[in-house]
Symmetry: C2
Subunit: 131 residues, 2 copies
């Protein structure tokens, strides 16, 4: 029984279910920012995944990376699996632009998100669902 | 022709060459912290790797993760590919302990490293070479 951690649920919008991962859009309009959550109960670390799940995970990371790289101005991907606050295994795939609020530091823990307005949210959810 | 970025060279110690990646130990005694650098010329993003290299990369991430998790007190892995400052593709695998200097935030950009003393450096290099 896979259930999304309440903190991820609160901070993001559901975009899609890919073969392994639930794909979320972080509710922060400042960055094109996807979160991949493997639908594996109680997984907290990449080291706990079976080899076939690991290979699928990195393929889905690359797929998310291509989607994020297609957003205007994205110069660098930042990919991270941290989980110090939310133990459920999840992988951030964030598009970075020189001069964005956290640049060149990491986005995690940097500053409060700026929620999406409706049209921009519909656009990024549409891009993920088409990608 | 693979060559390590001078910044990575300056900030770390060579530990081993695995099938895909050069394995470095970050010269910061506060965290068990490995860096994996795929020996692929000019790669800057996971999305540029061939599928077989991607699968190998995540296997080596898991291998590094198991090594790091074996250090005393490590409660969480932090895995990250950022590259905002050093474009050469590299993946951090960091062992985190509640109460470590950056906890629960990310280690990247947090504070100046504390270099290893000789015996602790020999110990972590030995662990990587044996693992």
């Amino acid at each position: 029984m896979f259930a999304l951690h309440p903190r991820l649920e609160a901070d993001s919008h559901f975009a899609a279910d890919w073969p392994l991962c639930r794909v979320l859009v972080m509710n922060d309009a400042r960055y094109p920012w996807l979160v991949l959550v493997p639908r594996r109960e109680r997984a907290t670390e990449v080291t706990e995944l079976e080899a076939t799940d690991r290979a699928q995970l990195i393929d889905e990371i690359a797929r998310a990376g291509h989607l994020v790289q297609a957003f205007p101005g994205v110069a660098k991907l930042n990919i991270g699996a941290l989980g110090n606050l939310v133990p459920q295994l999840h992988v951030h795939v964030v598009g970075r632009r020189p001069g964005d609020p956290a640049w060149p530091g990491p986005v995690w823990g940097h500053s409060a998100p700026i929620p999406y307005e409706a049209d921009a949210l519909v656009r990024i959810l549409g891009a993920v669902r088409a990608g």
